[in-house]
């Protein structure tokens, strides 16, 4: 017995248990690491026969459910820095809008696909490797990565942080910095997310940890808060402009993801920050390797459906 659901926008039929299972798995990761999971879910949906444009747009819709569930769970645990989240969100929205224009120019030049894929692999590789090595060292007790001692000579980045105007306190995160810093970093993540065609959670998390020096558990909750609003915006835009949101597909994914996000948030609260980071780093590296293989190995077909990257 394997009931199927007909997806009217995707124009295909997919096993219901498979969709709910995928939703649960990605929701779990969402609650665990504070990522939307788009960089994982979209390729998985394409693999099971969903057209790329529908996969990407619908994924945004289901991420709204998973991230709202996860964000609420983290908010109740006091892990959401709303002030920081709103500044990052503002930068992210502006950066995303600019990133879309950059993609448009790249497409006109005919090199968009190459640059997008190379950016993807390099970003995933860099972020994943850095986080993995850093967390491994921390777990071995060599260095406490996110916290630097006062006796160390401040780096150029720290000096820049201190020199920027509009300094303010972020009590929830326990940090003090210029408003411009999270705004500019949000802008950068927004540009990269638009170029790569993802929500940006997996870039935002390392940015919060390493550049904004936020504690890991606040990072996860705040990232989910950001992802939630970004995906609400994307869902409405995709539904109105491209008609590519498949509601029934999203509902099936949501059924699994909202439960998965709750489970993930609870597991997250029991793990150490470095354990979380090393798990996320492994996941990011896994996706990078998969993407690298897809770039190196001859595809089954030299034709592919249009849409997506």
């Amino acid at each position: 017995m394997n009931p199927h659901l007909y997806l009217v926008i995707a124009g295909n039929s997919v096993s219901i248990p498979l969709l709910v299972g995928l939703g649960f798995g990605v929701g779990l990761l969402s609650g665990l690491f504070g990522v939307g999971g788009g960089f994982l879910m979209t390729p998985l949906l394409i693999m099971i026969g969903i057209p790329p444009t529908v996969a990407a747009a619908t994924d945004s819709n289901q991420i709204v459910a998973a991230s709202s569930s996860g964000a609420l769970a983290h908010y109740r645990m006091g892990n959401v820095d709303v002030k920081m989240g709103l500044i990052l969100l503002l930068g992210g929205i502006l950066g995303g809008t600019g990133g879309v224009q950059i993609v448009r120019v790249l497409r006109a030049m005919g090199n968009a696909d190459f640059l997008i894929k190379v950016t993807y692999v390099l970003m995933l590789g860099f972020v994943g490797t850095y986080m993995f090595i850093d967390s491994l060292r921390a777990l071995r007790g060599a260095v406490e990565p996110a916290v630097r001692t006062d006796t160390e000579k401040p780096s150029g980045y720290v000096r820049l942080m201190e020199a920027l105007p509009y300094r303010t306190e972020f009590p929830k995160s326990g940090v003090s910095m210029s408003l411009l810093l999270p705004f500019l970093l949000g802008l950068l993540v927004g540009v990269l997310a638009a170029i790569m065609g993802v929500g940006g959670g997996f870039i935002m998390v390392p940015v919060m940890v390493y550049l904004l020096r936020m504690p890991m558990h606040v990072v996860v909750g705040t990232s989910l808060f950001n992802v939630l609003f970004t995906c609400i915006n994307v869902t409405c835009m995709q539904a109105s402009a491209n008609h590519t949101v498949d509601f029934m597909l999203a509902v099936m994914l949501m059924l699994g993801s909202v439960v998965g996000a709750q489970v993930g948030a609870r597991i997250s609260s029991r793990l150490k920050a470095d354990q979380l980071k090393i798990l996320l780093a492994s996941l990011v590296l896994l996706v990078m390797v998969k993407m690298l293989f897809s770039l190196l190995l001859t595809p089954d077909h030299l034709l592919a459906p249009t849409g997506g990257h």
């Binding site: 199927h4 659901l5 007909y6 009217v8 926008i9 124009g11 295909n12 039929s13 026969g49 819709n61 289901q62 709204v64 459910a65 998973a66 991230s67 709202s68 569930s69 996860g70 609420l72 769970a73 109740r76 645990m77 006091g78 892990n79 005919g110 696909d113 190459f114 894929k117 190379v118 609400i232 869902t235 409405c236 835009m237 995709q238 539904a239 109105s240 949101v245 509601f247 029934m248 999203a250 509902v251 949501m254 059924l255 909202v258 996000a261 709750q262 609870r266 609260s269 770039l295 190196l296 190995l297 001859t298 595809p299 089954d300 077909h301 030299l302 034709l303 592919a304 459906p305 249009t306």
Partner: protein, 290 residues
């Protein structure tokens, strides 16, 4: 639904008629009016035969494929009759369409999208079932002329390949092959040799039966089914049926909402997602802060 009812004649007489129409070979018998889409189903002048469909019947059950919320593909039962001594070929074609696809190629040693391919005049679905090995029951020329097999599809296709904004003039045939292979991998193009069964019938006629699978990704529209009777490798009669693939009301409503009221659809989708997420979050007990 039976479109043409077979005439009650003894088997010997059927065979004689079948041979007779084969020998006639009158080109004028293939009038365009009997061929709904000449490009797909006309027979070449060399092999044209007087059409005599009196003994050929085709019945597809169900006649309409209804796509509901739990649709996972439809199975059509093929039933019909044909004169004794004849082979059978069944061709199902979906609505004609234009398809745009990405072309994959290597750039600096990496595989990626390097251009676009536009395929015009291709059916959304093509399925061909035969009662024997295609090479044995009809020659290549007959098969191509009758639209049985993929060769005719490739001949009908118009292809435009653009790589880096430049139209490619050469290698079009290779891309047609690629397209057919791609659609075969998705189950939309299918050639089922020896999948039509011919058995004993009544009144000297033979029964023909088989099963057609309409994949879930088949688009809505009107489909044509043509059953050809072949004698000694040449078509001697043809009968045609139409079938439709339709959306059931709830599915049609969702589609209309998505396509015609995108903003409303998007907002409903967001509210539903927030409801699900926050609802589950609200009923799940909090464990407190770290």
């Amino acid at each position: 639904m039976i479109t043409r009812i077979g005439v009650n004649l003894p088997g010997v007489l059927n065979s004689l008629i079948c041979t007779f129409v084969l020998l006639l070979g009158a080109q004028e018998a293939l009038a365009g009016s009997a061929v709904p889409e000449k490009a797909a189903l006309a027979l070449p002048s060399k092999v044209t035969q007087r059409e005599d469909s009196s003994y050929l019947t085709l019945n597809l059950v169900p006649h309409t494929v209804q796509i509901g919320l739990f649709f996972s593909g439809g199975k059509l039962s093929v039933r019909g009759t044909l004169p004794a001594g004849c082979d059978a070929v069944l061709i199902i074609r979906g609505p004609q369409q234009e398809r745009e696809m990405h072309v994959q190629g290597k750039k600096l040693g990496l595989w990626m999208t390097v251009g676009t391919a536009t395929f015009k005049n291709v059916p959304a679905l093509y399925q061909c079932l035969t009662s024997g090995a295609a090479q044995e029951i009809m020659g290549r020329e007959t098969a191509t002329a009758a639209g049985a097999g993929f060769q005719r599809l490739k001949e009908e296709m118009e292809v435009r390949i653009e790589v880096g904004g430049v139209e490619q003039e050469s290698g079009v045939g290779r891309w047609k092959d690629e397209f057919v292979e791609f659609e075969q991998s998705r189950g939309l193009f299918y050639l089922g040799e020896s999948e039509l069964e011919i058995g004993d019938g009544q009144d000297g006629l033979k029964k023909v039966s088989g099963e057609i699978v309409i994949p879930a990704r088949s688009p809505v529209g009107s489909y044509r089914a043509v059953l050809l009777a072949l004698k000694e490798g040449l078509p001697v009669a043809r009968v045609e049926e139409t079938l439709s693939v339709d959306l059931m009301p709830p599915v049609a409503f969702l589609r209309r909402l998505a396509m015609e009221h995108g903003w409303t659809y998007g907002i409903v989708a967001v509210i539903a997602a927030l409801g699900a997420g926050l609802g589950v979050g609200a009923i799940t007990p909090s464990k407190g802060a770290h």
